[in-house]
């Protein structure tokens, strides 16, 4: 088809081009009264988290009347929804991400680097717990800010300790008497299987056993990330120690009971005396109430000293955001002291800012746990999840293979050899 280019067409085209040019130069003239920009924030959360989020968004709206934050709340199956949206070309501006997902998202080029923005606006990040801050950093490039600084610690039922006449675990990180042997001794003294009382609970998730592995000097990948090394002695010893708690010393309930109930439920029910868990302190306070007295302590030191796992969640900006400036304003706001205080107050979690972690907003001296500082001090002992693009899949393999170890009948060495085999095929 031959299309004649008439004078009218020519005029139309020029007019359109002119209008386009005018439109494209418009942002430079936008100064005063402008249309509010809407940015979309993608996050999950139970009602408490939703409350905290809506409260902070309301504060942000007050400070920034020209930016509206639309909160895309995902009740469950967050990754399914997020991946579908991203694959379908629907990009939220601010994405809430667990620190373990940062590297995979960066590898796929889905996150906006923040270094230039931090430098341009002179954002002071020194108050953020340094090793928590670094979880959102890949090869020197910052991609996000943390919203919390959680690390898993040993929750213990003080009432059960008293009843069994056992000295509670030391809360001092420098106490050198708190070793695996000391731990086992206490666990044995606390266990009375006939009354369904147990010293400890071995949880099958990644982070609860990762603490024991790192405390013993074990690693998941070798240094250049080319091979899985979970079958080397430090890791194998640690996993065998945990399996022996169930099968040899019988101080931890068999896995069927433990897993069916889900994390922390046995502890909340007063069945296990010690349990490794996430610092959902507010949730623990509500659910334990005055059933028993509880407190927290560091995990016992292994061959490589004390350790904790965790890391938490943070806010990032989509690389495809249409409004990166506005999204950046929001990110800066969420890490500011007033916003962190509000968030911490509602959530009862470990805040990412050291100043807030030292304040009563977090410490709440009238409420348990008495040794709440274990969480803030523990930040220095954090051994985050292994940073590797294949980590999500690799950890799933490890967690599912380890089921065999927790169920009994195989040695940690056999299971770890199997894990290494499978993970190495991924790499």
């Amino acid at each position: 088809m031959v299309k004649h280019f008439s004078r009218r067409d020519f005029l139309k085209t020029t007019a359109l081009a002119g209008a386009g040019a005018a439109l494209s130069s418009l942002p430079h003239f936008r100064v005063g009264a402008q249309e509010p920009v809407t940015i979309r924030l993608m996050a999950w959360g139970n009602p408490t988290e939703v409350e905290a989020r809506e409260a902070t968004i309301a504060m942000f709206h007050e400070q920034h009347p020209n930016i509206r934050v639309e909160f895309l709340h995902t009740p469950d199956d967050y990754m399914v929804k997020l991946q579908t949206m991203l694959a379908g070309g629907d990009y939220p501006d601010v994405i809430f991400l667990g620190n373990g997902d940062i590297l995979p998202f960066v590898t796929r080029g889905q996150l906006l680097p923040l270094n230039d923005l931090i430098e341009r606006d002179g954002v002071d990040t020194s108050d953020i717990f340094p090793n928590i801050y670094n979880l959102y950093n890949v090869d020197g490039v910052q991609y996000g800010f943390p919203v919390d600084a959680p690390n898993q610690q040993l929750f213990y039922n003080k009432t059960m300790f008293e009843e069994a006449g056992v000295e509670p675990p030391p809360s001092d990180w420098d106490d050198e008497t708190w070793t695996w042997d000391a731990f086992l001794e206490k666990a044995i003294a606390l266990t009375d299987a006939s009354k369904n009382r147990w010293g400890y609970q071995v949880l099958p998730g990644f982070r609860p056993w990762w603490i024991w592995v790192t405390a013993n000097g074990g690693s998941f990948f070798n240094e250049d990330g080319t091979a899985c090394v979970l079958n080397e002695p430090p890791a194998v010893e640690a996993l065998q120690f945990l399996a022996d708690l169930i099968h040899v010393h019988k101080v931890a309930p068999p896995l069927d009971v433990a897993t069916e109930m889900g994390g922390a439920t046995l502890f909340q029910s007063g069945i296990t005396a010690m349990e490794t868990w996430w610092p959902a302190i507010g949730y623990m306070r509500t659910n334990i109430g005055d059933k028993f007295v509880w407190d927290v302590a560091p995990h016992p030191a292994g061959a490589a000293g004390k350790s904790t796992s965790g890391g938490g969640t943070g806010h990032t900006i989509s690389a495809f955001s249409q409004h990166p400036e506005e999204a950046w304003e929001f990110l800066k706001f969420v890490i500011s002291q007033p916003a962190v205080e509000r968030w911490t107050d509602i959530m009862g979690i470990v805040p990412p800012l050291q100043s807030v972690a030292q304040s009563e907003v977090f410490l709440k001296p009238d409420l348990p746990p008495e040794n709440i500082q274990v969480f803030t001090e523990g930040s220095a002992y954090l051994r985050p999840d292994p940073q590797h693009p294949a980590f999500t899949q690799a950890s799933q393999i490890a967690v599912s293979e380890l089921q065999a170890l927790w169920l009994g009948g195989v040695s940690a060495q056999e299971v770890c050899d199997r894990i290494v085999d499978q993970v190495n095929r991924l790499l």
Binding site: R40, W44, G45, N46, P47, T48, E49, V50, E70, L72, H73, T74, P75, D76, D77, Y78, V80, K81, T84, M85, A87, G88, G89, D90, P150, N196, M261, A264, T265, L266, Q268, S269, G270, I271, W278, A280, G282, Y283, M284, T286, N287, I288, G289, D290, K291, T313, M347, I349
Partner: protein, 288 residues
């Protein structure tokens, strides 16, 4: 029973034994099946501290009936209930209308490639949602339908669920073809045969399809999760998950209270339409 009196009494007692065994098995089964429900009900009436106690407490003290108003007012459940209702009613109508039309074409009309088409249709039942969800999402995004009910409703009008086509086709096949011929002799068109002959004779099958689809739609999670972003648009099934926390714990007592409330519509439907549900098993299985 035409046996001797002595035998009869033997038969009677063995019959009683049989009855007893049947009841014993059924009652055991009923108790096992009812335990999760009982636990849900009991949890919905507990305070958070009572939820996980050992040994488990079945009758909470105090009975925390206030969980119900708290759960229902903690989230806009009224709105979500209406959303679910609209989606379920409209899409169920669409599914029954469109699937029965397609099934009619497969069961009552002869056309080239019919059986091949039917096989392909059945093949779509094998595709898991996870495979089709991204292309589907892209399609509806291009249409600008994300964040509306349209992706959850419109496909139902295009016989999107092959299973119901299959179900209705099987039923339509059992109706004698002479019915159609008689109607055609009287000058009925295909559509008139469908509307005036086949549909009225298939009411039980249509009811089964409608009930099964409505139940599926009421509980559907993935579709609403992907296509709805604003909480005003949520369905009940999606909204109930808001009590689930990733790291910070789940409010079991509130979640169970809300679950109980939103179980009621399904229980009512099942209660009144039991007959059809059971017929559904027969229709899709042995009849024909």
């Amino acid at each position: 029973m035409t046996t001797l009196p002595a035998n009869r009494s033997f038969n009677q007692s063995s019959g009683q034994l049989k009855q007893f065994l049947i009841y014993a098995v059924l009652i055991t089964g009923a108790v096992v099946v009812a335990i999760p429900f009982a636990w849900t009900l009991s949890t919905s009436l507990k305070t958070p501290q009572q939820v996980f106690t050992f040994p488990p407490v079945w009758i909470p003290d105090p009975i925390a009936w206030w969980n119900y108003p708290e759960a229902l007012s903690s989230q806009p459940f009224g709105r979500w209930f209406l959303n679910s209702l609209v989606i379920v009613l409209v899409s169920t109508f669409g599914t029954v209308a469109s699937c029965s039309m397609v099934a009619f074409a497969f069961a009552r009309l002869r056309w080239p490639g019919r059986d091949l088409c039917f096989l392909i249709l059945l093949g779509t039942m094998m595709l898991p949602d996870q495979v089709t969800i991204i292309p589907t999402f892209i399609l509806f995004r291009e249409l600008g339908w994300v964040n509306t009910f349209l992706p959850l409703i419109v496909p139902a009008f295009f016989a999107r669920n092959a299973f119901y086509v299959f179900l209705l086709r099987q039923f339509f096949m059992t109706i004698p073809l002479e019915m159609d011929d008689a109607a055609r002799l009287d000058g009925a068109s295909h559509f008139q045969v469908y509307l005036h002959i086949i549909l009225p004779m298939s009411k039980p099958a249509l009811a089964v399809a409608a009930l099964m689809f409505a139940q599926f739609k009421w509980n559907e999670f993935l579709g609403p999760l992907i296509f709805l972003n604003r909480s005003e648009l949520y369905t009940v099934a999606l909204g109930l998950r808001t009590f689930v926390g990733q790291e910070y714990g789940t409010d079991w007592h509130l979640m169970m209270a809300a679950n109980i409330v939103f179980m009621i519509p399904l229980i009512l439907i099942f209660f009144f339409a039991q007959k059809y549900f059971i017929q559904g098993v027969v229709i899709s299985g042995v009849k024909g």
